[in-house]
């Protein structure tokens, strides 16, 4: 069964406009919160809900909010992370494009809970047209008195602005995002201090993903406990999954956390199975950064239990046999896919996106890209595979921000699970002509 909470209204004509959103109950939760609920209770409900950050790290949102420093006379900020640049991820775009007011309402409620009087939506530059949609919706919200001074006579003030980036995956990392929002290069900061203490303009700041902030509306609507009743264990609520690759029905799906991976891939409600009747070869389950898993390990854990779409089940087995939920970017590969070539597109990506501050990341990502290129060119050797393994190991854990790990894990997991394919490429370079094939366009 699909659980529609965030996407409950996405099919409604004109839902992006405030009057239609309001007709379907929009801003009713904000009204209730501002009249009946204290800011502390907002934070408390979010804690009870068990909501975990949907941007990739899965950190409990209520806990993060409780860390926010509250020194007297210092402004606090809420920043929505709409940078969405993790390959395979396109859910925030869908959410903001279809139903911008849901996220905006969530941001107003969250700002009230955090005591922030200014909030920003940092959106990737390529999403210009969505920035326009958001700006229009924000204008409507100001006109209706949901933003600005003394919102709905509550005494609470909030200004909300859209800030457009300019193309840099690293600006999705929260401290790089804050640098960028301050008009600088997107170089991640060394933590601590964490943004909750010293964030935007050195003031206490909460950075949350678009989907996380949207989920605050249903949580305050039905209560944290009702939200926590959805899902499984510590994976509460629903999650937007961006499904792409060799499947019959690519798209954004809202799932109740805990459904079997097998159901997600093969049910007609979701991915609808592998296209052209092919077999499943591998899945990258949570965006480019998480370990790739072969078909058997994504469908079942090493112990043989069905693998579920939950933070815990996807991670079961650690890096030896498991993966991660990440951003929910679910990339499916059929039996003909060249794992080496797919890895090369990732390695090239991370090399392109490294900010260059740390040598292991700056040099290692380029090195890995060049070695993979060499292998795909038919000039690889067995020692190159070992060298790749060494390089990724020397990045992992030795950098300022997690982009280093994000670049290392795909390499490590591809070699761990598909080493024989790498070997085949280097031992039989003449075979590469056959396997070098790229994916043909669907002719239908």
């Amino acid at each position: 069964m699909s659980a529609k909470i965030l996407l409950a209204l996405d099919h409604i004509e004109g839902i992006a406009s405030l009057p239609v959103y309001a007709q379907h109950g929009g801003y009713a939760v904000l009204k209730k919160v501002l009249s009946d609920i204290s800011p502390q209770q907002v934070v408390e409900e979010v804690k009870i809900s068990g909501l975990r950050g949907r941007g990739g790290a899965g950190f409990p949102t209520g806990l993060k909010w409780s860390f926010l420093a509250r020194p007297e006379g210092v402004p606090r900020y809420l920043v929505c992370n709409a940078d969405e640049s993790e390959p395979g991820t396109f859910k925030d775009r869908y959410l903001m494009e279809r139903n911008p007011h849901l996220m905006i309402e969530g941001m107003i409620i969250s700002s009230y809970g955090l005591g922030a009087n200014t909030a920003y939506i940092y959106i990737r530059g390529e999403y210009f047209y969505i920035a326009r949609i958001l700006e229009k919706a924000i204008k409507e919200a100001y006109a209706a008195g949901y933003l600005g001074k003394n919102i709905l006579n509550s005494g609470f003030d909030l200004d909300l602005h859209v800030h457009v980036g300019a193309g840099a995956y690293i600006c999705g990392e929260e401290t790089a995002l804050l640098e960028s929002l301050e008009g600088k290069r997107g170089n991640p900061r060394i933590k601590p201090p964490f943004p909750a203490v010293q964030g935007l303009y050195n003031c206490p700041t909460v950075v949350n993903n678009s989907e996380t902030l949207a989920a605050v509306v249903p949580i305050l609507d039905k209560g944290g406990a009702a939200y926590a009743a959805i899902g499984i264990g510590k994976s509460t609520g629903t999650k937007l999954i961006s499904a792409s690759g060799h499947i019959n029905r690519p798209g954004v799906y809202e799932i109740e956390l805990g459904i079997p991976v097998e159901e997600f891939i093969y049910s007609d409600e979701y991915c609808g199975g592998i296209r052209n009747g092919k077999k499943l070869k591998a899945v990258v389950a949570g965006g480019s950064s998480v370990p790739i898993l072969p078909a058997d390990l994504i469908l079942k854990t090493a112990e043989g239990a069905p693998r579920l779409m939950s933070y815990e089940s996807l991670a079961e087995g650690g890096f030896q046999t498991g993966t991660m939920m990440g951003s929910g970017g679910f990339i499916v590969m059929d039996e003909d896919t060249s794992i080496v070539k797919n890895l090369y597109t990732f390695a090239r990506f991370y090399h392109h996106e490294s900010c260059g501050q740390c040598s292991p990341c700056r040099e290692g990502t380029g090195w890995m890209e060049r070695i993979l290129h060499k292998i795909l060119d038919g000039h690889g050797s067995i020692t190159d595979i070992d060298l790749l393994w060494d390089i990724q190991k020397n990045i992992d854990g030795k950098t300022i921000c997690p982009l280093g790990e994000a670049a290392a894990w795909p390499v490590a997991s591809a070699i761990r699970h598909f080493r024989s394919e790498f070997e085949e490429y280097v031992l039989n370079p003449h075979l590469i002509e056959d396997v070098k094939h790229y994916y043909r366009l669907q002719t239908t």
């Binding site: 640049s85 991820t89 200004d159 193309g167 997107g186 690519p250 597109t345």
Partner: protein, 181 residues
Amino acid sequence: MHNMNETNMTSQSQLQFSEARMAEIRELLTHYPENQSRSALIPILHMAQSDFGGWLSVPVMDYVASVLNLLPIQVYEVASFYSMFNLKPVGNYLIEVCRTSSCWLCGAEDITAHLENKLGIKVGQTTADGLFTLKAVECLGSCGTAPMMQVGANYYENLTISKVDSILEELKKENKYSRYC
């Protein structure tokens, strides 16, 4: 000739945002605390790139520095960091084809090869008439509608060869520099 260069060939003293743009910039500056106007740099660089020929020449960046009262280096270091800022002239239409995993899995290489053929240029080049520049880019958040490309601010998704052909035809007919902001 290359109309892409038109604005940038005007001398620096003529570089000037329109009054409407200046009003937009004044409004933009109200988004940030008074002593934090540097925050407006990236949005203003987008405007400059859009208004002054699709790329950021040194005189354009110096002009932006003067508008925000920044050192030129503070503008250069930002402009050179972000992939959407072009530090060299580009064609009227910047065609950006996504090359990352999901798009590759769905045939992006066929799209790129077709564009190269059709336009008679390689990735990274501009057609002789200055109309098209072809670029390969990283994931644009359109993986479920792969393969895809972006031209100016527009997303073109679920591409096929014939779809690409008709998009090119339309752009040629329109033949005007596409502002994206």
